[in-house]
């Protein structure tokens, strides 16, 4: 098999696995801070119980994010040595700042946040929670700066085939960064909101109806209902920004083969790359022109402008529809749920099951969105500067294949373990009453 393809699958598998966990922890850190602040303000122990349950989920998700992140820090070099050779002068400082300003901060204060409740004053524990949330968000900031720069590079010049920074403000605030960062942070908020709502709904359905469960359920639903319209708006702006800087990606998303006016919105089709057309298309006339150009006869750039240099159409096309479809489902369910909670104070069982079913909907939407933007960037790794093929390493295919199998096996195991443990924790929390047992010492006490 082609070593470049294997290296891409390996890196893609690792980064896909990794992104799931920061997507939870970035927003969950702020949700925990919210619980803690509510506890500080009201003195209501239920907020603290909600904190204690969700901090476990945070710790578990954080650990999975850390270990897969460390793997990634090595794979930058092992899989894409050409990347650092060509653009290391820009990527290097951004990565270094992520380690220096985010990783140490979150990792150190996590210890105090998790285990320091009785060892430090209340305000210091709240501060530790804030610093962990702040650290995860800083980490997201730096890595999305780098990722955005790879999509829309700015503030540099090429000298002897190597990128040199000329303007760090232009590098950091590159054209797609604000949109991508906003889109990703909102994705994290939604992923976390549906996780909190879903797992709480499940506990509620199992007659585990303590006040902490109700508070978390409401918080999750309100957060989801508040964020989803903002996300749809930001996603639209992000799409328009992409149209300006990476038109081939948008053409693949829309399945638009020819540059022309009156382009329909393709709801569903099977893109046929060989014949360069869509089979079995279901379309809304003039839809794409209206969305992208705000005119029925607006001219939308098509894939024909980029023959041989555009991304594979089908995966981008499908992934985009999965993301948007998931967003619509999120909108419908969260608004329905928020309305019912507001009017009736409680969820009907069917709707509660709907939230259980949507527990991991944020993961699906986030991954689909990442596939749109990352596959949509191909064949470029850094737009106009470096192709993916140029960055690949000379490691033999057999070795990449072997390690890939190893990684896939371990990720599959961890994924099963993670999801089953989340539900196990939820089940156990219901049985344990209001004072949860100590974390690492359940057996210690039993033994003594």
């Amino acid at each position: 098999m082609d070593p470049i393809l294997l290296a891409r699958i390996q890196f893609g598998a690792n980064i896909s696995f990794h992104i799931l966990f920061p997507t939870i922890t970035i927003a969950l850190g702020w949700v925990l801070l919210f619980f803690k602040l509510r506890f500080n303000a009201t003195g209501n122990e239920a907020w603290m119980n909600a904190y204690r349950f969700w901090v476990k989920v945070f710790a578990l998700s954080f650990a999975l994010g850390v270990v897969s992140g460390i793997t990634m820090s090595f794979q930058f070099g092992t899989n894409w040595p050409g990347f650092m050779e060509r653009v290391g002068n820009i990527a290097g400082p951004l990565l270094a700042y992520e380690v220096l300003t985010a990783f140490f901060l979150e990792a150190t204060f996590l210890g105090i946040m998790l285990f320091g409740f009785r060892r430090v004053p209340g305000w210091a524990h709240t501060l530790a929670t804030f610093l962990v949330a702040f650290g995860t968000t800083m980490s997201a900031f730096w890595i999305l700066v780098l990722n955005s720069w790879m999509h829309t590079p700015a503030g540099f010049e090429m000298r002897e085939g190597v990128a040199h920074a000329t303007d760090w403000m232009a590098i950091i605030f590159n054209p797609s960064m604000p949109y991508r960062l906003g889109h990703m942070l909102l994705a994290s908020g939604l992923t976390c909101a549906f996780l909190v709502a879903g797992l709480s709904a499940w506990r509620w359905l199992r007659q585990d109806r303590g006040e902490d469960v109700r508070l978390a359920l409401r918080a999750g639903i309100w957060l989801a209902a508040a964020l989803i319209p903002v996300q749809i708006l930001v996603g639209d702006l992000h799409g328009l920004n992409t149209l300006e800087h990476q038109p081939a990606k948008v053409a693949a998303m829309e399945g638009n083969w020819e540059t022309r006016g009156n382009v329909p919105l393709v709801l569903f089709a099977i893109p046929n790359e060989r014949e360069r057309r869509n089979d079995y298309a279901i379309e809304i006339p003039n839809g794409a022109s209206l969305i992208l150009k705000h005119k029925a006869d607006g001219v939308v750039p098509g894939l024909n402008d980029h023959i041989g240099k555009h991304p594979p159409v089908a995966p981008v096309f499908y992934a985009f529809r999965i993301m948007v479809g998931m967003g619509m489902a999120m909108l419908a369910l969260s608004w329905l749920g928020a309305f019912l909670i507001w009017r009736k104070g409680e969820l009907p069982r069917l709707i509660a099951w709907g939230f259980v079913a949507m527990t991991f909907s944020g993961w699906v939407a986030t991954l689909a969105g990442w596939y749109v933007t990352e596959i949509g960037r191909q064949p470029w790794l850094v737009t106009g500067v470096l192709t993916t093929a140029q960055a690949a390493s000379a490691v033999p295919a057999g070795m990449i294949g072997t390690t890939l199998a190893l990684y896939l096996a371990i990720y599959a195991l961890l994924m099963v373990a993670y999801i089953s443990v989340l539900f196990h924790l939820a089940r156990k929390a219901g049985g344990a009453g209001t004072t949860p047992p100590p974390v690492y010492s359940v057996r210690l006490q039993a033994a003594e």
Binding site: G111, L114, G116, W168
Partner: protein, 333 residues
């Protein structure tokens, strides 16, 4: 400024060395405790985990910083080293992954899986230690292929695992009391001897492999000043041995001493290696200066590092202060 500018690669090599040394000591004790868990019963394991629970995450971050600095400041060396070590790196990552997630899963998973996660914790720690030592061995051998080179690298794997076990048991001496502390003392004595064997093997093999390193150490007058490194190391081994013979003590005021001794031991060993290989970053192949990336980017990183590292040191110290003394059970509430 100009002095720094001209020597930026050296400054970064120093920063990287500090990160790697910090990693080896700090995650070394985590991994050592992880391997020693094989000897503990269930309640001892819980207490052993409690000594490292609040720290391991930050400890591991030094690896990310070290490898990040290698990647950022010396991309050419990074490419060479990681291509040579592709497979052991993957195995190390597997070990670190198992160890890291097992921290959480061993208490959060269903009862029937908890023992399996304990084994994953032990196995992951062992795998990470062995592969890191193996990579050190390959590095010392300049990545040459051959039976003796491989054998040496494998031996180095066991040597580093022994050294991690030693620093892990001294950490347990500092953070536990009673029966577990007494057991930690006996673990420390055994692993100290293995560590001594490992350090002697590396010290003999390194000058034998490279005539250049032989000259650096044994030419006159260098040898007079340099002799202090092995002499101090030897004296440290002896004093640690004698001190450990008198432990555990009823009075806990000196419980931190063996751990401090282990830090000194690691530092001396590291200095010896650093002296051997300077100015090379890839032994006999690539010098620090030749591997360095463009200066303007290194400046940006250096400014950030100089500004941020004191904060990192400060809040790390704060965290150790919060969790000072003998480890209590870890509770979320």
């Amino acid at each position: 400024m100009e002095l720094i500018s001209n020597n930026l690669p050296i400054v970064f090599a120093g920063l990287m060395a500090v990160s790697i040394l910090a990693y080896v000591i700090l995650d070394g004790y985590d991994l050592g405790v992880g391997m020693l868990m094989a000897r503990g019963d269930r309640s001892e394991r819980d207490r052993m985990i409690a000594t490292i629970g609040p720290f391991w995450d930050a400890n591991e971050t030094w690896l990310v910083l070290g490898i990040g600095l290698l990647l950022v400041a010396f991309p050419a060396a990074h490419g060479l080293i990681l291509t040579e070590l592709y497979l052991p790196v993957a195995l190390m990552l597997l070990g670190l992954t198992l160890r890291g997630v097992a921290f959480e899963f061993r208490v959060k998973a269903q009862m029937r899986f908890q023992n399996a996660w304990d084994r994953a914790f032990i196995g992951g720690s062992l795998l990470a230690a062995l592969t890191q030592g193996y990579m050190l061995g390959r590095y010392i051998m300049g990545f040459q292929a051959g039976f003796w080179q491989e054998a040496f690298a494998l031996a180095a794997g066991f040597g580093l695992a022994a050294a991690y076990t030693f620093v892990g048991s001294t950490w347990l001496i500092a953070k536990t009391e009673g029966e577990l502390q007494a057991r930690a003392v006996s673990w420390a004595r055994a692993s100290l001897l293995l560590t001594l064997a490992g350090m002697i093997a590396v010290s003999l093999a390194t000058p034998l492999v490279s005539p250049r390193i032989f000259d650096r150490w044994f030419s006159f007058p260098n040898i007079i000043g340099l002799a202090s490194i092995p002499l101090m190391t030897g004296a440290l081994f002896l004093s640690l041995w004698i001190f450990l013979r008198r432990m555990p003590r009823a009075d806990h005021s000196l419980d931190l001493v063996p751990f401090l001794g282990a830090i000194a031991l690691f530092t001396l060993g590291f200095l010896g290696l650093a002296y051997s290989f300077y100015p090379y970053i890839v032994p006999e192949k690539l010098t620090i200066r030749a591997a360095a990336s463009a200066t303007e980017s290194l400046w940006i990183i250096l400014l950030g590092a100089v500004f941020v590292l004191p904060f990192i040191a400060g809040y790390t110290a704060f965290s150790y202060y919060v969790f000072r003394g003998k480890a209590r059970e870890l509770r979320y509430d």
